[in-house]
């Protein structure tokens, strides 16, 4: 009835090749918590989250036992807080961050995302106050994650927001300089941000989403690498086919867990995110897949082509395995979270310029990159602008999560621990983009936006 080989393969994937469910993320709408009194709004937010997510962690733990597969993170994503802040007309929006932190601790989740603002075309009331409060919010909380969407293919780029975010990223690092600048590691700047992304730091619950929803992100770079290693010599058609088959199997587990969690919690199943998400653990690296394909080290010439093939094959295999696919869906390349990327960055093979090229063909963007502590805000803004432009023109999500290593220089290291990992400070081109960034205004939506 069951094939022994199949059974042992599944167990090997979980036990030896780090197959796991990276995250079960519950999206919760807070639109019904809006109140002109911030204290009342916070009370409603706390009550809503702790009611909806009360069973999230216990249900996930039961599923882990039932299928014998680890669910590494349980997370919550909420409506962008700027929308709630706009009703309050107060500058003390950081109270919302403290409420989210309290709720996250009460529910026992690993992260809570949604301390966010969507300013792709301009600032609405509440957006300024929220963005200004991000560095403080991230320094006084542990679980809260923040994101800002500064542009889209449809709207172009809000360069006022880009200019602002360079300073905010720096401040987030400065305020947490005593803790390896961890604040900046919990802040991501998006172009074309998806509304149903289960991955942090960029998860928030979009306004088009249902009241409460379950989204799942799978992980499995180790499984793909092991399959390629076992297969030995084959041409790239064969490699792509093998990755596709493996991605199918990985995603089916995600689909199974997502359905089961949604049913047990009595909320709709949203999407499975088809991403290959690495961890710093040895054997769980996207860079090592690229090296298995045939590169001496990630970052070598050929990396972008190999990554494009990997990213496409993962999607093709995954899309058939799940009834609803969404979120970021692609291979992630966060430097400090990937053992192979860390080694390549230390060796100097992997540079920010190469990473930028790689982001044009995969999800998500310049992610978890440590940059020198003296990098000026306008350079950070310009990095954001470059990355956002790639997303805008290619109608894809791109993001920037760079960590200015305050007080450190190229070659020194930052150590975040856990899934965020550690890594070297990488060299940044510091020729000044000041005049460009200070022009501010908007970059108009590209011709690609005119599809109607």
């Amino acid at each position: 009835m069951y094939n022994t080989h199949d059974i042992l393969e599944t167990i090997k994937m979980i036990e030896e090749e780090h197959l796991d469910i990276r995250t079960v993320t519950m999206g919760i709408s807070l639109l019904d918590c809006i109140d002109s009194d911030i204290d009342k709004a916070c009370e409603k937010v706390y009550r809503k989250i702790t009611t909806c997510a009360a069973e999230l962690v216990p249900v996930c733990e039961r599923i882990e036992k039932k299928y014998g597969i680890p669910i590494i993170n349980k997370r919550i994503a909420v409506t962008p807080i700027a929308m709630l802040a706009s009703a309050c007309q107060t500058s003390k929006v950081v109270k919302f961050a403290l409420t989210l932190e309290k709720a996250a601790r009460a529910m026992g989740v690993n992260f809570i995302g949604g301390y966010s603002a969507l300013v792709g075309k301009g600032f609405a009331s509440g957006d300024y106050a929220l963005i200004e409060s991000i560095p403080e919010a991230l320094s006084i909380t542990d679980h809260v994650c923040s994101s800002v969407n500064i542009g889209s293919t449809k709207a172009g780029l809000n360069m006022d927001a880009v200019k602002m975010m360079g300073k905010i990223v720096r401040q987030a690092a400065e305020l947490t300089a005593d803790r390896n600048c961890i604040g900046a590691a919990k802040l991501v700047v998006f172009c074309n941000a998806p509304e149903d992304n289960p991955f942090m730091a960029g998860a928030f619950h979009g306004v088009g989403e249902p009241d409460c929803v379950i989204n799942v992100g799978v992980s499995g770079p180790g499984v793909v690498r092991a399959a390629l290693e076992k297969a030995g010599d084959m041409d790239l058609s064969g490699v792509a086919e093998l990755i596709k088959r493996t991605a199918f199997k990985i995603t089916r587990v995600g689909q199974l867990v997502a359905r089961e969690a949604a049913t047990a919690l009595g909320v709709p199943f949203g999407i499975v995110d088809l991403s290959l998400a690495p961890t710093p653990a040895v054997g769980d690296s996207v860079a090592h897949i690229l090296e298995e394909v045939g590169l001496e080290q990630c970052g070598a010439c050929g990396t972008t082509a190999a990554l494009a093939m990997l990213n496409d094959a993962v999607k093709k295999g995954g899309v058939m395995a799940s009834s609803h696919v969404g979120g970021l869906s692609g291979a992630f390349i966060p430097v400090t979270e990937d053992a192979g990327m860390i080694d390549a960055a230390r060796a100097g093979t992997l540079t920010i310029e190469k990473l930028e090229a790689m982001t044009a063909v995969c999800s998500v963007g310049l992610d978890m990159i440590n940059i020198p502590g003296d990098t000026p805000p306008e350079v950070i803004s310009a990095i954001i602008a470059d990355e956002a432009a790639i997303g805008m023109i290619n109608s894809k999500t791109t993001a920037v999560r760079v960590i200015p290593a305050i007080g450190k220089k190229v070659g020194e290291e930052l150590e975040f621990g856990g899934l965020l990992g550690s890594g070297p400070v990488m060299k940044v081109n510091t020729a000044s983009p000041l005049k460009f960034i200070n022009r501010a205004g908007r970059i108009p939506a590209p011709i690609q936006s005119l599809k109607n």
Partner: protein, 89 residues
């Protein structure tokens, strides 16, 4: 509802007896057993009916894992759906 129980480790006397005793204790019915011994390595796969299981499935999985630890074997109990999902369309 069915579960798949796998036992892997160094061969010794009484593995099958201890594992099936464990199943009986929790009213888990063994439907199918296949086993091989390859150069001293014992590998057994059992398909079990867990419809009338007398405890929580998670507790059963934990107890069998603990039983495996006492024998120096690795025992996994997983619901059949994970294999069906992964290996069939």
């Amino acid at each position: 509802m069915k579960a798949v129980l796998t036992v892997v480790g160094k061969d010794s006397v009484g593995i099958l007896a201890k594992v099936s005793n464990g199943c009986a204790e929790f009213n888990v019915n063994i439907i199918e057993v296949s086993q091989t011994v390859l150069s001293d390595m014992f590998c057994m796969i059992m398909v079990c009916d867990i419809t009338d299981i007398s405890c929580d499935f998670g507790d059963f999985a934990d107890k069998m894992k603990a039983l495996g630890d006492t024998m120096g074997m690795s025992i996994h109990v997983m619901h059949e759906d994970i294999f069906n999902s992964m290996h069939s369309i």
